[in-house]
Symmetry: C2
DNA sequence: GTCTATACATAGATAGAC
DNA sequence: GTCTATCTATGTATAGAC
């Protein structure tokens, strides 16, 4: 029980938060360079600044009223950019959604891989996976909420990617569980169901953050609770 | 462990399904009578038939593309009723959403109360609450999905009601857990978090049914798993 | 690079014939 | 009770001035 606390201190929420911040800006730059054909702006500095502004405004509005309900006039008002200016940064509303999805997926994938790779054993890997996912969805709450709620508004191709990304995350847990069972550390259950349930618990954090916030639950507190809950089920007691 | 199986047999999914079917038609009739001012149709038989048709078409379309993206022309095509005819059954698109929400909430509340009331002790009540909620969300999967995903598209008043209903369901679990702790049957944890997590597990069933279906998981199988998972955490081992 | 003005499509909603 | 035809508002997207 104590050992978990030690592992947390290796990656506090604050440190984690900074790490994501850096990753986010880099990925924004990558996105700018990759989409130079559909982005009419030439200067990197102004483009990245406004892209960030547009992404954030879109996420804020979509979280409140939904991407479909958000008109580009709304987005124009929220971002302070005119309709014409907006269309210098993307060539359609659909493409805007696509770029935002892409950006979030990359950050998620980068950060999770990086963080889980540090795990020294299976229990540690499980803790890190849970904690990293929760911390990440805390920092990028709007994106995670957006990504879940707006999946239906994407093109079929983008939907496929979203599902793949979703299942990839779940597989991280699946793999840890299966390895743990083989090693005789975890009880034998249906590992697919266990992984699903764990994923669901993590999702609850960003889908219902208002509820947890109202009750004064912090992301660290929630992480501790989830880990305890999972371990009661999978760990073999000695 | 065996005792749970006995309790299930008191309410098989099939029986449950029939119970809901009846409740659904009755509530559809109630809704018709209560909204006689906004519904221009006089004959109960034709009104209830078409209302049911409209509700089902709306749910189907909304589940696929979202309520906001569904135009009334789409709904007209799917239901086989003309635009004009549709407006004889509701006076705005917003009102249509509202009526559907109302109908689902009533069924949910009726069925859950009825089913949980049968519980003979706290563990039994917990099992029944889990199972009833899962079975209900299986029968009415489209409604549950709609209700969760379209909350943002409702008026502020309706949003408040949706949240209240959500929290009421969660409170069922909260109360059972608190009573169980007092009675010395359940371990002491944070009962708010326990109730939240349980609610999230139930929600996962209807939010990701495609995933469970693809993997061949039945609702009964999922219910058994969830109950086992919960009990590993809350039950005091003897 | 950003703005204003505008084109064009599609949405919700209603009127009046049948 | 249901249909077709139509009104009006709003949405996405673009052209061209600055």
């Amino acid at each position: 029980m104590k050992s978990r606390k030690v592992e947390i201190s290796e990656m506090s929420f604050k440190e984690f938060s900074n790490m994501v911040e850096v990753s986010m800006e880099n990925i924004c730059k990558d996105i700018f360079h990759e989409n130079r054909d559909s982005i009419k702006i030439k200067k990197e500095k102004v483009a990245v600044k406004n892209l960030t502004l547009i992404f954030n405004s879109t996420l804020k509005l979509s979280n409140r009223i939904g991407f479909q309900s958000m008109s580009l006039r709304d987005l124009s008002a929220a971002s302070g950019l005119s309709m014409g200016a907006l269309y210098s940064y993307f060539k359609s509303k659909d493409e805007l959604a696509k770029i935002i999805q892409e950006q979030g997926r990359r950050i998620t994938s980068d950060i999770l891989d990086q963080e889980i790779g540090k795990g020294v054993n299976l229990a540690d890997r499980m803790h890190r996976a849970v904690r990293a996912h929760l911390y990440l969805s805390e920092v990028m709450q709007e994106w995670f909420y957006f990504s879940f709620m707006e999946a239906k508004n994407l093109t079929r191709e983008e939907q496929k990617r979203a599902i793949e990304s979703e299942l990839a995350t779940e597989n991280i847990f699946f793999d840890i569980i299966v390895e743990g069972e083989k090693a005789g550390l975890f009880k034998k259950h249906n590992p697919f169901l266990s992984a699903s349930i764990i994923k669901g618990m993590l999702q609850d954090w960003y889908l219902k953050r208002w509820k947890y916030k109202n009750r004064g639950i912090t992301v660290e507190g929630y992480a501790d609770f989830v880990i305890e809950f999972i371990e009661a089920f999978i760990l073999i007691k000695k």
